[in-house]
């Protein structure tokens, strides 16, 4: 019995090991859709993903700041990425989600059209943002290639930075 167990454990270890080695060269991301484009955010910047619920409007802010909402006792700003990216507003539907991102002490919720999947992209498959985009102010961290898709990787810290 114990031999069997050992075998299993060993096998599992073998299976996991290559992954572990790879982890250094792999970026884990969460992909989502806004408009027609697929974007991704490093998984470590994401605190949670929740279904939409009610929020409170806040005056004197750009239209893409929808307001604030209550996440288990914390008041958190809600930012609509469609509006932020210059797309027309869309009614929330079953697929709409709030992605709550956290970098340092900064927390905010972002409205996205729908989630795609958790991604693991090898570092060598991530290219820099196009030269035409000023890399300091840009929200874009890089462009990931996965099979036949191209995914824009966003900078969570830039998204969380107030720009008004």
């Amino acid at each position: 019995m114990s031999d069997k167990l050992k075998d299993i454990i060993n096998k599992q270890g073998e299976q996991q090991n290559p992954d572990l080695i790879d982890l250094d060269n792999v970026v884990q991301l969460v992909g989502f859709i806004i408009g027609d484009e697929e974007y991704a955010i490093p998984i470590l910047a994401i605190q949670e993903i929740i279904k939409p619920f009610s929020w409170t409007r806040v005056p004197q802010v750009p239209s893409y700041v929808k307001g604030v909402f209550n996440m288990r006792g914390s008041v958190i700003p809600l930012i609509d990425l469609r509006l932020k990216f210059g797309l027309p507003e869309q009614k929330h539907n079953d697929e709409t989600r709030f992605i709550v991102m956290k970098v340092g002490d900064e927390v905010a919720g972002f409205v996205i059209d729908r989630l795609t999947m958790a991604l693991r992209i090898k570092k060598e498959n991530i290219g820099p943002a196009p030269d035409t985009i000023n890399s300091d102010d840009s929200l874009i961290d890089g462009v990931g290639k996965e099979e036949d898709r191209i995914i824009t990787i966003l900078k969570a810290d830039k998204l969380l930075k107030r720009d008004f």
Binding site: S54, W55, T56, R57, V58, P59, Q60, V61, V65, G67, V68, F69, N70, G73, S74, V75, I76, P77, K91, D105, E106, V107, A108, L160, R162
Partner: protein, 810 residues
């Protein structure tokens, strides 16, 4: 050796407290040198510190305090008149004492600070003639330079000789003798105390308990002290002559309470982090309580008259009562009087006046005003900067003041008081005031502003220039100020506390600075008001009263709305103008005015409804949304929603800028959206019915027209669909009997909105009674179709009501 650490901590807490008090008292003493009571008090402080430090083997400290004590003792007996020069020496020694205590706190030993020079000067003073000891004179004998413990008896001699040496010239032999005797006696007492304490090694020497507000950081365990308390030397022979000074009597008095460790501890020291955590928990509890109350109300409504309700009511009220008490209690543990901060200023002013050769008097009032601990800690530095600035730049030299016909002595007054939900700290001086022209000129020179900006600047803005980084008006850089840092730090620090600075100044009259700091005590009472579909919380402390008015009581004066409130005229502003609320619901004939008061300012805030009074927990909007004008924060309500808290101070400012008249007809504000219909499917009709069959029948009847149909299963859903307005609906077919929200209520709700005033609502129901039809009309239905009906009939009614163009009929 834990016990030693404990004693050491007690000693430090006590000593720091005493020293803090000492500063204040000494400055006061300088003004009233005859005050024996005060002098005695000061003497006792020096003495207590000396006693305790000798017990703990801090010899440098003992040495220093001992000599201070000498001087003070002389003064106490009238042998010495305290002049400001003597006071300088004493204050210097107090500073050294503080430095030593800090060193002890950090290293558990008192080495590393040279007290020789100071001791020498103290000795010179106590020499009796009260002559000015020049700081540079190094009379001190070399022997003094051994701060390390030597044999006790040897040290006694040293001490004695040190005291005596400079005095030989001025002292008679008898005096010297008496002094020696006195010292010996004192030493003896101390040794006795030491021995006694060693015998009772189990007992700790308890310092008098710190004041309840005192919260001290947890001690840092440090290396053990030298355990080498030498065996007590043979007691010196009893003095032959009667002890001349009462110093000897003081020793046992001070030592006695130290030995009796009180069994009952009145205070404990608590880590601030624990209090913070407690405060957060209370915040959560208050939210939960609010929620409980709301649920209780709902339950009460639904199960009216049930027996268990009373029990529930009782529990809810007990919980809410206890929560409130608990919250107040925790809040109080965090409150400190601002006097803690103010205490250090008399000394500072005194030093500055001597340094700057000015005459300045400090008046302090309101030191009992209580503030949250975190604010008390933060407010000290900004105040130091401001007061230094007033001394250096504000108050003129005495001759300049006389030339201007002012009192020679300048006055700086420091006041603290509550105003609404703010604490105001006001610093006034009667100095030369701020010269706006000069301020602007300097700023332009330094490139802080452009000439054009300067031209457009008002007085207040010009005063604000002193807070710009890199600005300094002192022509000459002094030790006190003029390095161009400071005032901008003040501003940053105050803003960190969410406070504001208000400056007023008049040339040659003086400057007045008001720091307004919100009581960021996390929980406040608030009045909740409704406007359209939104709710806002107004801190109750700023609300004077609320009145209900009808819209024709509002008058317009120069584009501003005002109303008459008893015998005064109150300017009005509509909350929706401040917070950019779309007016989609018609407010009706009546409105509520919340009269806000802030100092002398008053403002009427028009709201649609008064929701009620509630205890709210202030939450910050976070870094991303900070600094929104008019919003002080947010709170989470019983239903889990977020409500914004109105910043009354900012609101007063914003109200001045709002030009629009309050009573603008809401109907005009919302334009009717009527799009040209180009095809049948441009018409959109909502079917509201809880029965699927009924919906299908209606759908079948209308599908033939080719119009777009949207369905909803009850009133609530219909209302939501309507409001989220993906479509502009042209008509609604409404069933009366529905769960959640019935047809009448739905119609009533819809008609509240201006934009739906003309939306035809058609009741489709099996209720045929006359009274039902009446209710339908009352709630705003235009047609009443009773089931069963023919498809054609329904279709024709709908066509009529939506002005269906006949060309679309195929």
């Amino acid at each position: 050796m834990d016990e030693f650490q404990e004693i050491l901590q007690d000693f430090l807490v006590e000593s720091f407290e005493l020293v803090e008090k000492l500063d204040e008292d000494l400055v006061e003493l300088e003004n009233t040198p005859e005050d024996l009571e005060l002098l005695n008090g000061i003497f006792r402080v020096a003495h207590t510190v000396k006693g305790a430090s000798s017990f703990l083997n801090f010899d440098v400290l003992t040495h220093l305090t001992h000599h201070m004590e000498d001087v003070l003792n002389k003064a106490r007996h009238g042998d010495l008149i305290i002049t400001s020069d003597i006071m300088d020496v004493i204050l210097e020694s107090v500073d050294l004492m503080k430095a030593l205590l800090t060193v002890i706190r950090d290293t558990s030993a008192d080495a590393g600070i040279d007290v020789t020079a100071c001791v020498a000067r103290l000795d010179k003073v106590s020499g009796g003639d009260g002559d000015v000891p020049t700081p540079e004179v190094q009379v001190a004998p070399v022997v003094e330079e051994t701060p390390v413990v030597e044999e006790d008896s040897a040290k006694e001699e040293e001490v004695a000789s040190a005291t005596d040496e400079p005095d030989y010239d001025n002292m008679s032999d008898d005096d010297v003798e008496a002094e020696i005797q006195r010292l010996l006696a004192e030493r003896q007492e101390q040794d006795k105390a030491k021995r006694k304490a060693k015998i009772d090694a189990g007992e700790k020497v308890a310092a008098p308990p710190p004041t309840p507000e005192e919260v001290v950081q947890t001690p840092t365990p440090e290396p053990e002290p030298t355990p080498s308390a030498p065996v007590a030397p043979p007691p010196p022979p009893p003095p032959a002559a009667p002890v001349p000074a009462s110093g000897g009597d003081e020793a046992p008095k001070a030592a006695a309470p130290a030995k009796k460790a009180p069994a009952v501890e009145q205070t404990i020291r608590v880590d601030v982090k624990r209090l913070d955590h407690l405060m957060n928990l209370i915040g959560e509890l208050v939210l939960a309580k609010n929620r409980l109350i709301k649920i209780n109300d709902d339950v009460e409504e639904r199960y009216e008259g049930e027996e268990f309700l009373e029990e529930l009511n009782q529990v809810v009220s007990i919980v809410s009562l206890v929560t409130t008490d608990l919250q107040i209690a925790v809040m109080k543990t965090r409150m400190l009087p601002i006097g803690k901060v103010f205490n250090k200023f008399p000394r500072m002013i005194r030093d500055l006046t001597r340094e700057l050769n000015k005459k300045i008097e400090l008046e302090i009032s309101g030191e009992e005003t209580e503030l949250d601990k975190s604010i008390v800690e933060e407010i000290g530095d900004p105040l130091v900067h401001i007061i230094r600035n007033s001394c250096d730049h504000g108050i003129e030299q005495p001759d300049a003041r006389v030339a201007l016909g002012k009192e020679e002595t300048g006055t700086i007054s420091l006041k603290a008081y509550n105003e609404g939900n703010q604490i105001v700290i006001q610093i006034d001086d009667d100095g030369k005031g701020l010269d706006t022209t000069m301020l602007k000129k300097k700023s332009i020179e330094k490139g802080i502003i452009t000439e054009k900006e300067a031209e457009q600047m008002g007085d207040k803005e010009a005063f604000g220039l002193i807070f710009r980084p890199g600005f300094s008006t002192a022509a000459q850089v002094t030790n006190v100020s003029g390095r161009g840092v400071g005032m901008d730090v003040v501003k940053t620090n105050i803003e960190k506390l969410n406070g504001i600075i208000d400056i007023d100044s008049e040339i040659d009259k003086g400057t007045s600075m008001k720091l307004k700091i919100p009581l960021t005590l996390a929980i406040i009472q608030a009045l909740l008001v409704g406007v359209q579909e939104e709710t806002y919380a107004i801190p109750l402390a700023s609300v004077l009263e609320t009145v209900r008015i009808s819209t024709d009581e509002v008058y317009t004066v120069e584009g501003k709305s005002v109303m008459r409130l008893r015998d005064e005229v109150l300017s009005l502003v509509h909350i929706s103008d401040i917070f950019e609320v779309d007016r989609i619901i018609d407010g009706g004939e009546h409105a509520y005015v919340v009269v806000l008061g802030l100092g002398a300012q008053k403002l009427g805030l028009i709201v649609d409804t008064l929701v009620g009074q509630e205890e709210i927990v202030i939450k910050s909007l976070g870094e991303y949304l900070k600094g929104i004008e008019g919003v002080a924060g947010a709170t989470i309500r019983g239903d889990g929603g977020v409500t914004l808290i109105v910043d009354v101070v900012a609101l007063m400012d914003m109200a001045r800028k709002v030009k629009t008249s309050v009573v603008q007809s809401a109907a005009n504000a919302v334009a009717q959206i009527t799009l040209e219909k180009t095809k049948a499917s441009d018409y959109t009709i909502m079917i509201v019915d809880d029965s699927k069959t009924d919906r299908t029948i209606m759908r079948k009847a209308l599908e033939a027209l080719g119009v777009t149909l949207v369905e909803a299963v009850d009133g609530q859903e219909a209302l939501n669909t309507l409001k989220s307005s993906d479509h502009n609906f042209d008509a609604m077919l409404i069933d009366i009997e529905m769960p959640r929200m019935d047809g009448y209520t739905l119609a009533g709700e819809i008609k509240k909105y201006n934009r739906y005033k003309n939306l035809p609502l058609i009741a489709v129901t099996s209720r045929t009674g006359k009274s039902d039809r009446m209710r339908g009309v009352e709630s705003g239905m235009v047609e009443y179709i009773t089931k069963p009906y023919s498809a054609d009939y329904l279709s024709s009614v709908v066509q009529r009501n939506i002005n269906f163009k006949s060309e679309f009929l195929s």
